[in-house]
Symmetry: C2
Subunit: 320 residues, 2 copies
């Protein structure tokens, strides 16, 4: 506006603070304000750059759905000497149950889990192999894991960007303090999330997961399952007219050809923009691979803050 005294496009800013808990209220807000928010495209900056200085257009995201499982045995914690051997241990039962979620090659073992999964396109695998980044090396360095591990038949970026997962995000039961306490816990719980890819449906995956857990529940315990928030996957065409505009803006802002990728994370609102406002979303984010999202020392470089200013100027011009 300083340069041209006006913007070349009309602009709505939508700000929400519930993304990390599933954006539970944004959908109804969009519906209530559908007319006021009428637009041609959405632009979101909640994704990342594949490497420092490499402009990146993310054209796909995984979805996510969640459940919590609680396994109960005795009505109270028991002395493991007085009762141990004659009653099922809820922690042991939970471990046995969770161990059935995957085979030893890293594949999810829930019946039907992969039925709707759209295979990776050849052009995508080809394009991702040519990206100016060594995904395996990056993951080893950033995470410090002793070795990579995942579904057989896929490399690391394919596993993260295009394959679904079943992750246990938390587990707890019995005595977790210092030293020893010889109890058999009354109950134990685990929190699970599933990352979803096209064309998986969150509700169907939850149903299949529940059936799996019910089928594999060990003897001697009962189980409660609570389902949590869900967000769908997203996939758009990076070669559409809007996608090409985004690519030009990224090139202009960073003076380099953009990388076209998918991401492993989930941003439920982009599906709501599509469903409620009827528009596609351009995902042009600026987080670096070592930004430590959701970890201690999360960070964002000033250099990318400045790049973001250039990028936002360019995308408004290109979209116009």
């Amino acid at each position: 506006m300083e340069e041209h005294h006006d913007l070349s496009v009309n602009l709505h800013l939508v700000i929400e603070g519930e993304e990390e808990i599933g954006s539970g209220n944004l959908g109804s807000f969009l519906e209530q304000n559908r007319d006021a928010l009428k637009c041609d495209v959405a632009v979101v900056s909640d994704t990342g750059m594949i490497a420092r200085g490499v402009p990146t257009l993310s054209y796909g995201l995984r979805g996510v759905t969640a459940l919590e499982v609680k396994v109960t045995g005795p009505k109270m914690d028991l002395h493991s000497g007085v009762f141990g051997g004659a009653v099922a241990n809820p922690i042991t039962a939970l471990a046995q149950l969770l161990a059935t979620l995957h085979d030893r090659q890293g594949r999810v073992a829930i019946a039907g889990f992969y039925d709707r999964v759209k295979p990776l396109e050849d052009w995508e695998r080809e394009a991702w192999r040519k990206l100016p980044v060594d995904g395996d090396k990056l993951i080893l360095e950033e995470t410090g894991v002793p070795e990579l591990f995942g579904e057989a038949g896929y490399n690391s970026v394919e596993r993260i960007w295009a394959r679904p997962t079943a992750e246990i995000n938390g587990i707890g039961g019995g005595y977790q303090g210092q030293g020893t306490k010889t109890v058999i816990a009354s109950h134990a719980m685990a929190k699970l999330t599933f990352r979803l890819v096209p064309e998986q449906e969150g509700d169907e995956i939850l149903k299949l997961a529940k059936e799996h857990l019910q089928k594999h529940l060990p003897k001697g315990v009962t189980m409660e399952i609570t389902t949590g928030h869900s967000g769908p996957w997203y996939l758009t065409d990076p070669h559409s007219a809007l996608g090409e505009a985004a690519q030009r803006a990224l090139r202009k802002a960073f003076n380099r050809d953009p990388a076209l990728i998918r991401e492993g994370g989930s941003i439920p609102i982009v599906s709501q923009f599509r469903e409620i406002l009827g528009v596609e979303t351009l995902l042009m984010g600026l987080a670096l691979p070592d930004c430590r999202a959701h970890s201690p020392n999360e960070n964002f470089p000033l250099e990318n803050f400045e790049g973001g200013i250039r990028l936002n100027k360019a995308i408004l011009q290109e979209l116009a």
Copy 2:
């Protein structure tokens, strides 16, 4: 002493407060005071009665040994969208590892675990079946478990009194609070104890357990094992001269034939009395099956407090 102006025996009282953490200092105290504590028999009241009003002599105890296992993957908690699928999940790996500890019939699956286990004697199984108590019913009522579960081929009291166990006493990892947090935890841990029976050796069981865990550790994670305190099992002859004296005292105090049982708990000091002082221990306890040891609302009836006064008077006379 009020009745007879003297005791019929010489008496040492040994009081310690570390039983629940493995009695780490009592052994050296006994060694340092071996001469002062010279005696013919030890009497301990840390066991239970099989039912209200039924005097009980416990002639066997299980031992216990402990270890803690910590499984580590990434150096910090990771975003499960950004990295999920390409790195092993330490909680999943721990669940898979712990699931290998038992077969689905409740038998411990550690190689060599049962090699030294002394089979139950026919007379014991026979005697225990005649006890005036329904073990299965009691355990169902006291614990509230949906069904009994344990090693195939044994009833509940046999499982508790004469068979070894591998129990997970605690497990923890990742996010355990309200709602969802989409992390892959850096690490997860579990606390295990093993109840030991004649002739198992605590150190050997720990060695076998470590080998088992190392052998079954899933890919993509590392493991640390820390061993905790150990206490040996105990078995004495209820029909020895001292055992018969104990039975007479129990009969006198409660006006009923005593039940002869083993117990599932562990009292490490009785083995130290045997090894260091060279004496057997008479286990004549007064806790009831619903005393809720190690649980909320632990309790002890006044009636048994009074019975204990009669019993202590009688045992001193009978031992004399």
